[in-house]
């Protein structure tokens, strides 16, 4: 039986929501094409996640459980995935496009002699591979890509598909796996935990961007707090980086970084065309600005007309409740 295998990414002891979005998509493709929809969980506590994964329609769940997977390491992850692929012989392996996936996708394709397409915003299977759509040229346009091969790997941008529950009773297949820390050539020395300003804006799933309206320490603190609640990167308009309020590397816009996060919150940004060029491909844009006529509202999905000092504290408090 032909199958589509979805890798369930676990990070900080939780299933990455984006990998369940991919599983939802895989299930739909499997149903439409008469394929088996399988999943693989690789984690120190992999077996604790099988119930959640069953809710999204996997018919077989491969479980690789070993303490080595408590942190992301490319060598053991590659060998575990290779082992599962050799056993399950999938036609397609689908991943959420996380940093962990990006770290191993090319190597896994080379190792398994598979076709591969990364960071797609939609995909489907064909008789001999995968068809996908992906943003190119700094996400200004879309490219349609055809990948052929007996096995094709595909990684999917988060937010590309909705979660669709489809409870099934899955067969759990435990895969024997062991690797010694001392056998690994690459040594993990230290994890420096995430803080808002170290998140790479090019890849951040959420971004909080500050503009001219962010004038003092109090406003900067509100920006940091909002970013921390959302685990978001902090960006800034050119006005603020030039004024030295934020580091130049945080500038978003035509001359700075071009970003396309799932969620972009523009705080006190008027929305000059140069700024919009750098963020218009964000999936959901929220604008908070005092001036109801500011051009940023023309691209915002949710526009809040109001003073950031009054809007941000309840906004942050409500987000904390939702996230908590």
């Amino acid at each position: 039986m032909s199958s589509i295998l979805t890798y369930i990414a676990i990070s900080d002891g939780k299933i990455k929501r984006s990998s369940l979005e991919v599983l939802s998509r895989s299930k739909a493709i499997a149903d439409a094409n008469g394929l088996d929809c399988d999943a693989v969980i690789i984690d120190a506590n992999a077996s604790t996640f099988t119930d959640s994964v069953q809710q999204y329609g996997a018919s077989k769940i491969y479980v690789v459980e070993d303490p080595i997977f408590i942190q992301h390491r490319n060598t053991p992850l590659l060998s575990a995935l290779s082992k599962v692929m050799e056993q399950s012989k999938p036609n397609v392996v689908a991943f959420a496009s996380t940093e962990g996936t990006k770290d191993i996708l090319g190597a896994l394709a080379a190792n398994q002699n598979a076709g591969v397409v990364a960071d797609v915003s939609s995909f489907d299977v064909t008789g001999n591979g995968v068809l996908a759509k992906r943003p190119v040229m700094a996400a200004k346009i879309m490219g349609n890509v055809e990948v052929s091969g007996d096995t094709v790997l595909v990684s999917v941008r988060s937010g590309s598909y909705d979660l669709v529950e489809s409870p099934a009773s899955a067969e759990i297949i435990n895969i024997d796996f062991s690797i010694e820390e001392s056998d690994l050539k690459a040594k993990l020395r230290e994890i420096i935990s995430a803080t808002g300003d170290t998140i790479d804006l090019n890849e951040a799933e959420s971004i909080v961007a500050a503009g001219r309206g962010v004038k003092d320490e109090e406003a900067k603190n509100l920006i940091s707090e909002l970013a921390s609640v959302l685990n978001a990167g902090i960006g800034a308009s050119r006005a603020l980086t030039e004024a030295g309020v934020y580091d130049p590397s945080l500038q978003i816009g035509q001359t700075g970084k071009v970003v396309s996060p799932q969620l972009y919150i523009a705080v006190g940004i008027s929305g000059a065309i140069q700024h919009v060029a750098g963020m218009a491909n964000s999936k959901v844009i929220v604008a908070i600005n005092k001036d109801g006529d500011a051009p940023i509202f023309e691209v915002a999905d949710y526009g809040i007309v109001g003073d950031l000092y009054k809007v941000l504290p309840p906004f942050i408090e409500e987000l904390k409740k939702i996230k908590g």
């Binding site: 940093e99 394709a109 346009i141 349609n144 094709v152 993990l188 994890i191 420096i192 915002a300 939702i322």
Partner: protein, 256 residues
């Protein structure tokens, strides 16, 4: 330390372009050194300045790609190798990785570095493919590099923060453009680059099979993205609208 930095000539993503019948039409004169590769070159130069050694750049491409090699030499790289192709083979990441691994298999080096992705396609696959094909320990998405006791210490951006990874040499690393600000070549560097050697390697001399070179993926067409529409505007009592939008981000927009 011997550094090899793999560099690529790519379109300037800021240059104007058109899509005609699904084809992307760009100004051929707006080709540049990939920004991520420029950061990889910069970092190798900094490490060479601190620890000594040699920085060699390797570029696959048509004749014009030698301009990109000159740019890296003007920045300060010691020499270059140009693996020449016709430029219209439609190579994908797998083809480039196969060519690079064939080139490197009998070379001696400590650190093989690459940009983490090409700025035009953003695939980010070639680096880890090359590492796998050469069986090298590797790290991707580096935001900082140091050399300590002959090991490469990589600070990389991962999913849940930054990770410090120690790699024995030889190893491979892919670089983010967030690690440094690549130097702009000065006149002296530009003059010196003209005297630096560029070796030319014919693709055919690497003896790759048709199967290894043929791309598994191809772009069949390009298209514009739909333009954005303005959404809902919320005016009113700040506390109320702020909480309402926060709830909508969770229940309607599904982005939390």
């Amino acid at each position: 330390m011997k550094f090899y930095v793999c560099i690529k000539m790519v379109p300037d993503v800021a240059a104007p372009f058109q899509i005609k019948d699904g084809e992307l039409i760009m100004d051929a004169d707006r080709m540049v050194l990939n920004a991520y590769d420029a950061s990889a070159v910069e970092e190798a130069l900094v490490l060479k300045e601190q620890h000594g050694g040699e920085v060699e750049v390797v570029c696959i491409g048509a004749a014009k790609a030698s301009e990109t090699i000159r740019k890296a030499l003007a920045m300060g790289a010691d020499k270059g190798t140009h693996i020449t192709t016709s430029g219209d083979e439609g190579f994908d990441s797998g083809s480039y990785a196969a060519i690079l691994s064939a080139f490197f298999k009998d070379k001696e080096y400590d650190i093989l570095s690459l940009g983490k992705q090409s700025q035009d396609t953003d695939s980010g696959l070639t680096g880890s493919m090359v590492a796998q094909m050469l069986d090298l320990p590797y790290a991707t998405n580096a935001v900082g590099l140091e050399i300590e006791d002959g090991k490469l210490i990589v600070k990389r951006q991962g999913d849940s923060g930054q990770e410090m990874i120690g790699l024995p040499t030889p190893c491979a690393v892919t670089c983010s453009n967030d690690m440094n600000e690549p130097r702009i070549p000065n006149l002296k560097g530009i003059m010196a680059s003209k005297r630096k050697p560029i070796d030319t390697v014919e693709l055919s001399s690497l003896e790759l099979s048709e199967d290894e070179l043929s791309p598994a993926s191809k772009v069949t067409s390009y298209e514009h993205k739909p333009a954005r529409q303005a959404g809902k505007k919320f005016e009113g009592e700040a506390d109320e609208v702020a909480r309402e939008v926060a709830q909508l981000l969770d229940t309607e927009a599904n982005v939390l």
